[in-house]
Every structure is written in structure tokens, then in C-alpha cells.
Amino acid sequence: DAGVTQSPTHLIKTRGQQVTLRCSPKSGHDTVSWYQQALGQGPQFIFQYYEEEERQRGNFPDRFSGHQFPNYSSELNVNALLLGDSALYLCASSKGQGRYEQYFGPGTRLTVT
């Protein structure tokens, strides 16, 4: 059973560009949450998707958007990239809107130049 997978592993973008990150949840999980982790900091919650809808959202601007597909996989889109968006983006899957254990993917390292 594959765990949570994320793609790509690393990504370099230029300021102003747009980026899409992808996540496939662990088998049997229906909820996907996205986190941003800056160097030396704890993960910051971006949003959570359940039943193809955004259910919860952290303190992130509208430049951050997402989508969940019928197979429970998810995308994170960031528009108009800023230097400050450089971070490790983590995807976590769980059952039942995060009331249970979350399983994390290895992350996507985004560098904005």
C-alpha cells in the first residue's frame, strides 16, 4: 500500500509565476490537508479538502487555491508567486476531516527566485 505521494519533489519558479503541486492520499483516506513549512518553522495549515470541497482554511491569501478530485487526490495552486512562498509544502491525508491520524507525504520543496 503506497503511502501519501507528492509531486514534484523539487521545483524552482520565478516571482510572478504560477505553480501546481499534486498529492495522492493514502489508500482509504478521504481528506487531504496542505501545509506550508518555512525553514526552521512548524508547518502552517493552508487548507483542508473533504468530499471535493474546501472545508477549513488557514490564514493564507486567495493566491493559494486548491482542488480535490473524485479519487481524493488533490492539487495546490499558488498564483503570483512571491519570494516568501519558498518553502516545503506538505500534504497530509486522513479519514474523516482530520479527526484521526494524519499521514504526511515527503513534501515538495518550492524555491521562488
Partner: protein
């Protein structure tokens, strides 16, 4: 603001010693989870303790929860160099809100 706050921020010990780190939170919770992260990689789930539990064990890990003090502790016994990592607690931010990580405790275990 952070819902969970770990203490201390950094901890350095020798192999074989015990390591204790604490987490405080602000609102009522249904459960509290501890995670480990090695060198900026993905987080690994260690243990989940529910609000009606006071103590839970998993191998060399012991977690306690005191809901009256809104705090939890993670004890790693007989530490190993491989335990070197950052440890985070994760709590729900309140009814209908997001799961919130603390800033983490960085544990260094030297041989």
C-alpha cells in the same frame, strides 16, 4: 497564533538518556498528536492520545495528557542517535477549525 506550543525549543542529550518535551494548547481538544520530522523531510506520526486518555505508550515513547492544564508531554526513553529530529504536537484549533502545529522541539542525541 499557534494553538500548540512545544517546550523546550531545543534539547541536547547523550545516547541512553531520556528526553522529555512538552506541549501546551489553548482550546478544548478531541485529541492531540505527536509527530517527528527528520531534517526538513515529511512528518512521521508517532502517537495520538484522545481527550479521555491520560497516558499512552508506544515502544520507547510515553505520552501524557492533562486536559485541565491543557498540556501534554512526550517522553522518549533510552534515546538513540536516530531519535535526532524535530518533534511537533498537533492539536485541533477549536470547533470546526484547522489542525494546528506548534513550532516544535529540536532534539539532538549525541553518541
Amino acid at each position: 497564533s499557534q494553538q500548540g506550543e512545544e517546550d523546550p525549543q531545543a534539547l541536547s542529550i547523550q545516547e541512553g538518556e531520556n528526553a522529555t518535551m512538552n506541549c501546551s494548547y489553548k482550546t478544548s481538544i478531541n485529541n492531540l498528536q505527536w509527530y517527528r520530522q527528520n531534517s526538513g523531510r515529511g512528518l512521521v506520526h508517532l502517537i495520538l492520545i484522545r481527550s479521555n486518555e491520560r497516558e499512552k505508550h508506544s515502544g520507547r515513547l510515553r505520552v501524557t495528557l492533562d486536559t485541565s492544564k491543557k498540556s501534554s508531554s512526550l517522553l522518549i526513553t533510552a534515546s538513540r542517535a536516530a531519535d535526532t529530529a524535530s518533534y511537533f504536537c498537533l492539536t485541533p484549533g477549536g470547533a470546526g477549525t484547522a489542525l494546528i502545529f506548534g513550532k516544535g522541539t529540536t532534539l539532538s542525541v549525541s553518541s
